[in-house]
């Protein structure tokens, strides 16, 4: 159940921030990625799993994505991070660095130095005339990792893996298109020689 955007305390000891005038004025288009209506609870290593920890996990992934432009990660995390990344790129493309709201979001979501330059001056210009989605998500075969050994018996844990990438990255495509080798010299020579052989066989008949 989603909470309406009002300043009412829904849980004990938890007070929501009061609704000050939102910084951003012009509304943005829809995000061209699947957005679940219930946010996933992401497992946090040792830290108490709350909403802040979840945002931290997402922030780390978004930072890594802007820095490296492609990452292999757990499927559920990739699915969860994709709309955040789309929204951030959309803000950079539609509003630009001069917008107050965009600058504040980028400052929080990309704490590493130099990444705001990368987002605004490297990634955003790719999509100035290209429609969304700005990211791609692919599914890889699941991995199993050794967890522990008990009485010489190995216990594994299986993880679904996904590849999240920003469009226009310099790497080769995740799903490679089947390439033809007919144009190569050796193949051409073989083809011609076979054709010639066929011709001679026909003449003999």
């Amino acid at each position: 159940l989603q909470m309406a955007g009002r300043s009412s305390s829904s849980l004990p000891l938890l007070i929501r921030s009061f609704s000050s005038r939102p910084l951003s004025n012009a509304t943005l288009p829809t995000i061209q990625a699947a957005v679940g209506h219930i946010p996933q609870k992401l497992k946090t290593n040792g830290i108490e799993p709350n909403r802040r920890a979840r945002l931290e996990v997402l922030r780390k992934i978004v930072t890594r994505m802007v820095r490296e432009e492609r990452a292999e990660l757990q499927w559920n995390r990739a699915v969860e991070t994709r709309p955040y990344l789309e929204r951030l790129i959309q803000l950079a493309v539609e509003k630009g660095p001069s917008d107050e709201y965009t600058a504040e979001m980028v400052e929080w979501w990309l704490p590493e130095p130099g990444l705001d330059y990368k987002l605004f001056d490297v990634i955003a210009p790719r999509f100035s005339s290209v429609p969304a989605p700005f990211t791609g998500l692919y599914r890889l075969p699941s991995k199993r990792l050794e967890q522990y050994i008990q009485n010489k018996r190995v216990f594994w844990k299986r993880y679904d893996i996904g590849v999240l990438e920003i469009e226009g990255n310099p790497f080769p495509a995740v799903v490679s298109t089947p390439s033809t080798h007919s144009h190569l010299l050796l193949n051409q020579l073989l083809k011609k020689s076979l054709e010639a052989k066929l011709e001679t066989m026909k003449e003999h008949k």
Binding site: I31, P39, S98, D116, S128
Partner: protein, 296 residues
């Protein structure tokens, strides 16, 4: 450190670049930044899209609860809302504007009742949309909630069109009475068409605590010295208070509750089509789709 310097330098460079040296140059710069070549932006331009649509027409914006966004119900409600807006002139007003509402009153001699107050909140989507006016009458603070599409409302007038630093002025209940007192017979202040709606930078002074809500925790922008005015007991309690200021960075939570450009354009198109049909029928010239800040 370095990142802040880079950001500041970039912002300065962008501001310098965007400074209007000539109309053409700034237009080109704006175009590149906004990605105007996309079809959606072109459609927005064709429809004369209002950027402040969620502020001017909060009743036409979808429900903040994701699961309550039912397209059929919204479409049916919008038809009724547009019909009502053709009968009753609903002026543009924001939270912080001074509004006068005249409702039918069965047992009064004049058969109508007029209430003047400052709009402190606007809630609910669709036909349920309501706004609350606050005033101090004979030393008693009074808040009246009106449902915008209530048929017993005879007239709504915006006496003073302005915004405040917050989108919710509930803290006025704990402020000194002079901040909520408005003359019931005040004359309307004309807003020159084409000029942006002014933002009143007033910071309200709260009465001595205790208050109805913990204003000192996430002090609203329009309150002066909320933390300083709080008592030491509340300041000690702050250690145990779970303050979630980080929620504003959750982009997708904001996306789930907020509006989308596609929906706004669809509604604007419906409004304009409805207006065109009614004007063509010749019965009325009333306009629904308008903005005080837009140039004529």
């Amino acid at each position: 450190g370095m990142r802040a310097v880079v950001s500041a330098a970039r912002r300065a460079a962008t501001a310098a670049a965007a400074a209007p040296t000539s109309g053409g140059q700034s237009a080109v710069a704006g175009k590149k930044c906004a990605g105007e070549s996309t079809a959606l932006r072109q459609r927005a331009k064709a429809l004369r899209h209002i950027d402040e649509f969620p502020e001017i027409y909060p009743d036409f914006v979808q429900s903040p609860v994701w699961n309550r966004r039912v397209p059929l119900r919204e479409q049916l409600e919008r038809a009724d809302m547009l019909e009502r807006r053709m009968q009753l002139d609903v002026p543009e007003f924001y939270v912080g504007s001074i509004v006068a509402v005249t409702t039918t009153a069965q047992y009064l001699g004049a058969k109508e009742h007029r209430f003047v107050g400052i709009c402190i909140r606007r809630e609910k989507p669709g036909l349920l949309h309501q706004f609350t006016l606050r005033n101090v009458i004979d030393g008693q603070g009074v808040e009246v909630m009106y449902e915008l599409y209530n048929p017993t409302i005879k007239k709504i007038e915006t006496l003073k069109l302005e915004k405040r630093l917050d989108s919710d002025l509930s803290y006025l209940i704990d402020a000194h009475p002079e901040f909520s007192t408005f003359d019931p017979h005040m004359e309307p202040v004309a807003h020159p068409a084409g000029t942006p709606v002014p933002v009143n930078q007033l910071k309200v002074k709260l009465r001595p605590p205790p208050w109805t809500r913990r204003w000192e925790v996430m002090g609203p922008a329009g309150v002066a010295n909320a933390w300083e005015d709080a008592t030491p007991w509340y300041k000690r309690k702050f250690h145990k208070t779970k303050v979630n200021d980080y929620e504003k960075y959750d982009l997708i939570a904001a996306y789930r509750t907020g509006s989308t450009l596609e929906h706004e354009l669809k509604v604007e198109e419906e409004m304009q089509e409805f207006e065109r049909q009614r004007h063509a029928a010749g019965l009325t010239r009333r306009r629904i789709f308008r903005s005080a800040a837009a140039a004529k």
